[in-house]
């Protein structure tokens, strides 16, 4: 249960940052925290009490009490994609800074939410 609490704690911290902060870099950091929280939530859905990793590392291992491999496979790719999307967001932030000279979302005229 504590895993769910931690995951949703991270998700809400991330959402709060995205909603409230005006600095673009801080918004991107918030998105990253949100991403981490979602990954943690997906992993904790597949958790089994006293379970082991789903790897038959030696031939005698029995298939009782292994954690669910499907969320792990999803999160595995999601982490790497998260890094790439974070880099893309940062590159857009660099361009915005070059164009407007500021990262404050309130001072950028054409773009308001």
């Amino acid at each position: 249960m504590i895993y769910y609490l931690g995951a949703f704690g991270l998700i809400f911290i991330g959402l709060y940052i995205v909603l409230v902060k005006h600095n673009l870099i801080k918004v991107i950091i918030g998105l990253s925290i949100l991403n981490t929280g979602i990954n943690l939530f997906l992993i904790s859905i597949g958790f089994v009490k006293k379970g082991t990793a789903p790897i038959f590392s030696h031939p005698g291992l029995k298939a009782i009490r292994m954690v669910d491999p499907v969320p792990q496979a999803l999160v595995l790719t999601a982490i790497v994609i998260g890094v790439a999307v974070l880099a893309l967001a940062l590159s857009l932030a660099i361009r915005l800074y070059q164009h407007y000279g500021t990262l404050n979302l309130r001072k950028i005229r054409e773009q308001k939410w």
Partner: protein, 230 residues
Amino acid sequence: MRRIISILLLGIVALGIILTLVKIPFGVSKTKVGKYYIDKGVEETGVTNIVTSVVVNYRGFDTLGEVTVLFIAALGLGAVLSTRKKKVKRKVEPASLILYTGCRFLFPLILLFGVYIFIHGHLTPGGGFQGGAIVASAFLLIYLGSRERRIGERGTKAIESLGGLIFVVVGLAGLVISGYFLRNFLPKGIPNLLFSGGIIPIIYIAIGFKVGSELAGIIDNLGGAVSRLS
């Protein structure tokens, strides 16, 4: 004002999620498909790491889509940051001798570790995505240690394209030989050996090279943009 509204909104969302999550049991296996993969995975795919068999074999098509997302993100980053301006020569203070030597000493070791992780992806924890990230971290270390050094952009693009091409070609070979895209047409071999699992290690090595060169290219692009900014 906006702060209060956001907190209220998040509170409402949190209430809904808590009311839903209380009904879901925690710590028991929930999906039938996960149990099926654990029970039948080794004999069906010949791979002892079930996560790898899900990523590359059962959901190989899904992984192809995810690799494409990664490719498009890297491509978009290159397009956003590309400039026609010629490079301005900046004075770069060289790193200290200890940092420089340490980075040069650690670089091949980290590279070797990354390659080990993605070659053994079907036997031990690890695989193409993780190994690729470790390889990219080796390049990041080189950038921190000596700033004037650059990765050749042509090389990363070539390796990246080659990795994606191998993935698609192996999938199409499955289509030609046995009638399904990404079908495992090679012999499965004995589980727990390095040469086992048919096409799975081949695809995972291709993914490893692709992810490694893509992330290294991202680091290269961002580093170049930041040094132009200041």
